[in-house]
Symmetry: C2
Subunit: 123 residues, 2 copies
DNA sequence: TGAAACCTTCACATCAATGTGAAGGCAAAT
DNA sequence: ATTTGCCTTCACATTGATGTGAAGGTTTCA
């Protein structure tokens, strides 16, 4: 599919889709006339990128972990592809992600506790 | 405590603590000489702000939900303090937070699955 | 064939969060 | 008492993610 349709289906402006490509997060094929051509899977990929960006990860981090965020494929399953440094990076990033989850969950709970408390008072 | 010590204990630069004050996230007392004076609880509060910022919330959103993120106190427990619009805002923000959590948890799991798969291959 | 709706690249603007530094007042210790 | 280190405000710079618009090529369709 072309960029306009991908933009429509994801709600992400074409400007941003080109930006993500510049940041090495997307790698669409090019048609003869130069138009970008995305596979169906790009829809999920873009949603994933947006979700991670919106959760505070930078494009730089996303670029580095993105190859490992899908079903482990043969390309990356060869043990020698996982250098100790890369494993450390993934572990560290998973830990940072967990920290975010904990923080968000705490505050989500606090909001719900508050709402429940006020509503209980109103009975 | 003064700004320098709060900075040391939280790891947040004084520049940022003043910025958060400007954004109405912190409200330190002032001593006669104009120095800011923070209560002990400011340490947690700053960590909380940092965590939320780092998780993609803006200072604007944080400012609006911050009063409700602590133990519900008498000030805010009066039902008339919770206008329907405010309740909607809190619900909506809780939902957005939940979306972030889901996205982060999915990708954290994917990292762990990948690491486990590679390590299993290496046995 | 010509208009409408897409596509391309290039470039400058904005916004929030943060860095950095200057110019000067206050305080604690040698 | 002077130095050292903290504090104050003011102000300009930077960085990452976006918005916006210009100038021009392509596809589709009436």
């Amino acid at each position: 599919m072309r960029i306009g349709q991908l933009s429509q289906r994801t709600g992400v402006p074409t400007r941003m889709l080109r930006y993500y490509e510049e940041q090495d997060l997307l790698h669409p094929e090019r048609a003869d006339n130069g138009y970008r051509h995305y596979p169906e899977s790009a829809v999920y990929r873009v949603q994933q990128i947006r979700g991670l960006l919106d959760s505070g990860l930078t494009t730089e981090i996303i670029r580095r972990i993105l190859p490992f965020l899908d079903r482990p494929d043969e390309i990356h399953l060869h043990p020698q592809c996982l250098t100790p440094e890369l494993a450390d990076l993934l572990e560290a990033e998973a830990a940072r992600i967990q920290q975010r989850i904990d923080c968000l969950a705490r505050n989500r709970d606090a909001i719900h506790v508050y709402l429940a408390a006020v509503r209980a008072l109103r009975t």
